[in-house]
Point group: C2
Chain length 215, copies 2
DNA sequence: GTCTATAGAGTGATAGAC
DNA sequence: GTCTATCACTCTATAGAC
């Protein structure tokens, strides 16, 4: 099936262009040029622009789902830190996936509802981490009912919009995964018990201090 | 000057349509229809689409600048709470202003740089609030160098993307200014001194408990 | 200041040869 | 599976009458 190859090339090129220009500003012509095929050929593989966007969305949806699935039965601090690293890579690789969410909602509502489910799952997963680590004695009793849910939602917003926000502010160069993770851990830190703080200092702090060294 | 009137009508209609459909999806024809004038007349008042977007941007830029200017010489907690209410109204009124930031950056770079300055000012203002209230004994010594700057940046992201994010998640109905302010105060609360906590409970907590009552 | 009419440059999608 | 050619349509911007 040689056509799978071209199909994949189209998807890859589309992702690249979507990232650079945004969904609404990418022309079918551009995609065709990018991989050296004709617009007619493009139409052979995808009946229209929406079909391309759908295919791209499915690919990225699955990649995001994989990250979500790394949530384990016993989610310790290291586990969360690893997941944060993965989220960072994902969002940096596909910023349009989040920045064009509103565009998708407006133009392709069906795709959007699938994502909403994923977002809810992500927030609830963060919330469960609080609950689990509370049972382990690392996190304080909830100081006020509903607080940890609010914090979980805040963490989601920060995970999702921190990287795009830095793109917008034009400080891409200085941004790195350590600053990102530091900022998320800032959200959790105030709610550690003494034991939680100790475990954090021992297991996580060293990971945040690495200079972005090679190897 | 009857033309000022039409000019204003064009700007108002544009804002409405930009909010609904996003910058890239609004047609000049649409704007003209919205206020019952012809596209030709539109062209008389604004030489092209970019000129309209510029005018809109200037209006909103000034409105945002006004909110920023309410920062006082002695910024106490109530002052910040008031400013938060104003930000909330602003962002809810003009969500596209933030969500289409990337679009603006891509298509109209000159406008964008003006905004970047404003964003920096906003973050630095939040940071100054920490410093000032630390000197008043309401905020703890910075537990780790740079922390309050990180928190200030997180607060900015949350202020800016919380409302749009709720739009995207489709929970507009349930969102209200109290939840919004509660979420921002969550960011500050862990760093209050005992005195800070006391002042917060006395002055701010009552404001967060109001049901969204009439009058 | 406002209109109608239209030019001119895309843009998405299709038909049909190879 | 890929191409060229082209249609039908949309959008911005302009020209010129009123």
């Amino acid at each position: 099936m040689a056509d799978l190859n071209t199909k994949q090339k189209i998807i890859k090129a589309s992702i690249r262009l979507f990232n650079e220009n945004g969904l609404a500003n990418v022309r079918l012509q551009q995609i065709a040029n990018e991989i050296g095929i004709s617009p007619g050929n493009l139409a052979y593989h995808f009946r229209n622009k929406e079909a391309i966007i759908e295919a791209v969305d499915e690919d990225l949806f699955e990649e995001a789902a994989e990250i979500l699935s790394t949530y384990r039965i016993f989610p310790n601090l290291i586990d969360f830190d690893n997941q944060l690293s993965k989220y960072y890579s994902f969002i940096q690789k596909y910023p349009f996936y989040f920045l064009d969410m509103l565009e998708i909602q407006r133009q392709y509502p069906e795709m959007h509802s699938k994502r909403q489910v994923q977002v809810c799952k992500m927030i609830s997963q963060i919330h469960k981490r609080f609950a689990f680590n509370q049972s382990r004695g690392l996190i304080l009793e909830e100081p006020r009912a509903g607080l940890y849910n609010e914090i979980a939602e805040a963490i989601w917003v920060l995970i999702t919009f921190w990287v795009p926000q830095n793109l917008i502010r034009g400080s891409e160069a200085s941004m790195n995964v350590l600053e990102f993770k530091q900022m998320i851990w800032n959200q959790v830190y105030p709610y550690f018990t003494d034991q939680g703080q100790a475990e954090f200092e021992q297991l996580i702090r060293p990971l945040l201090k690495q200079r972005s060294a090679g190897s």
